[in-house]
Subunit: 316 residues, 2 copies
Amino acid sequence: MTDPLDPLVKRARDGDQRAVARLITLVEANDPRLPELAAALAPHTGTAQVIGLTGVPGVGKSTTTTELVRVLRAAGNRVGVLAVDPSSPFTGGAILGDRVRMQEHATDPGVYIRSMSSRGHLGGLAAATPQAVRVLDGAGCDVILVETVGVGQAEVAVASLADTTLVLLAPGLGDAIQAAKAGILEVADIFVVNKADRDGADATYHDIQGMIGLAERAPGHWRPRVVRAVATRSEGIDELVEAIAKHREWLAGHDELQRRREQRAAAEVEAIVLARLRARVGGPARDAAAAVAAGALDPYAAAGSILADLGHPDVV
Amino acid sequence: MTDPLDPLVKRARDGDQRAVARLITLVEANDPRLPELAAALAPHTGTAQVIGLTGVPGVGKSTTTTELVRVLRAAGNRVGVLAVDPSSPFTGGAILGDRVRMQEHATDPGVYIRSMSSRGHLGGLAAATPQAVRVLDGAGCDVILVETVGVGQAEVAVASLADTTLVLLAPGLGDAIQAAKAGILEVADIFVVNKADRDGADATYHDIQGMIGLAERAPGHWRPRVVRAVATRSEGIDELVEAIAKHREWLAGHDELQRRREQRAAAEVEAIVLARLRARVGGPARDAAAAVAAGALDPYAAAGSILADLGHPDVV
């Protein structure tokens, strides 16, 4: 084959960091060769353990990720890190500010670190992130850490694509009720109360334990663990890694790993389909906008016309 | 007409709070009569001023909203408040925790307050919120405050549907770079540095002023204002209301109000179309999930089959 992607995929599978970087850039840019790339990667994926990590700004996500990388590397794992910056939907441009904290791993050939923005990718984070995970998986990473900024729906969606999801909390960054508001209680497999040496850490710890205690769970379901940590001093990281291993064991013993991966695959396929359809809808929606804004046309009637034009009159 | 929605819409237009509540419940539940509701409301919409308000948990959104309602009411406005809780994508259920702070307005017939979750609504916040805004607009609200929790993409999207978007910051809740990460710099028309009596408030104020100074703006474009406030003590609220009025004037003088409203209408129509199409895609995506998770089928190939089945082989 004269396929120009093939040598790149082969080099990425051999652990060539530049090839991995190049492939993730293709994913970010929504390159027309993505279907080809996905086909080339598919047979080599499915082995990496995917760990999601989320929490509000300032909670210590980067430091915790850096610490996790240290411990996972010491145990001999190849590690990939995707730091997903929603960044601007308007101007693009990931801000790499706190990436510098990860410099200690920057020269380690067994660690691949990438800040990723969703700019340019039609389907946003929901479509781009799983494809980047596929690249790292295909490149032989044993563990992939996906760090998302924020606690909004998009971030919850990305976090829920992981095998194991960590939610970071810290004293003074909003109480447990506010965490619950953003839907993170339901996606968290493990809570990390970071900055556990600060005032209020005990209250945060007990609040979250209280909410876990109140949550309804069917018998045999995983009860989220809560780990205290001071990531800047490497405290609690071994305990966190142990909790992740416990969750992994539980997943494997309950057919839950398979269920989560199928759920991830379904979401991935759906995001690709919807991104392609969205490309068809944007123009007609803008064409109808003036009439809708003026109150001359209601948005459902406008939507109905567009669906009919797309060949789906019956969907309305 | 025997249309059962008609009397409800009429009562809502007369300011009947129960009728308004009922209509928003229909929106939340994605009721099959939404197209009919939208058609009934359309001629009566377009007059309300929509103000978005967002920020990380703990920054003081509810208190600030309550204070804004107080000042807007004193000026004779009918005010609607939509507190959009992303809540759980899994179990639903808005948590009304801090709504209690708004009790002082609960018995005022000129104020309509609603906590809204996106559960059940196929299109999520993006589809449900504009419809709820339409209900309040049609019911005669002069000002509609849309408060969103979090700083993620979904929240940014909702905030950007407003005529004027306020972004709340507070000292100790993550620095300006982290705010920028979430894309809020580009959507903010006005920044509120709340809890301005706390340590670090000056630094937050100057950080954000610095970032505004560095941002590129075409000549004649709005330069975001920064207002200091201590909402719990009603400080800075008059200044905030004045800044909102200034922005409103600017919008009107630059054809920007029309542009934003058409953008909102386009997004609204697109969200409805995509929600309807998503209903078609979910099942086939789940059917393909096992093969994709096993690496036997790549996600783009699966997406291509689904698009072909939907009659869009050429979209791939």
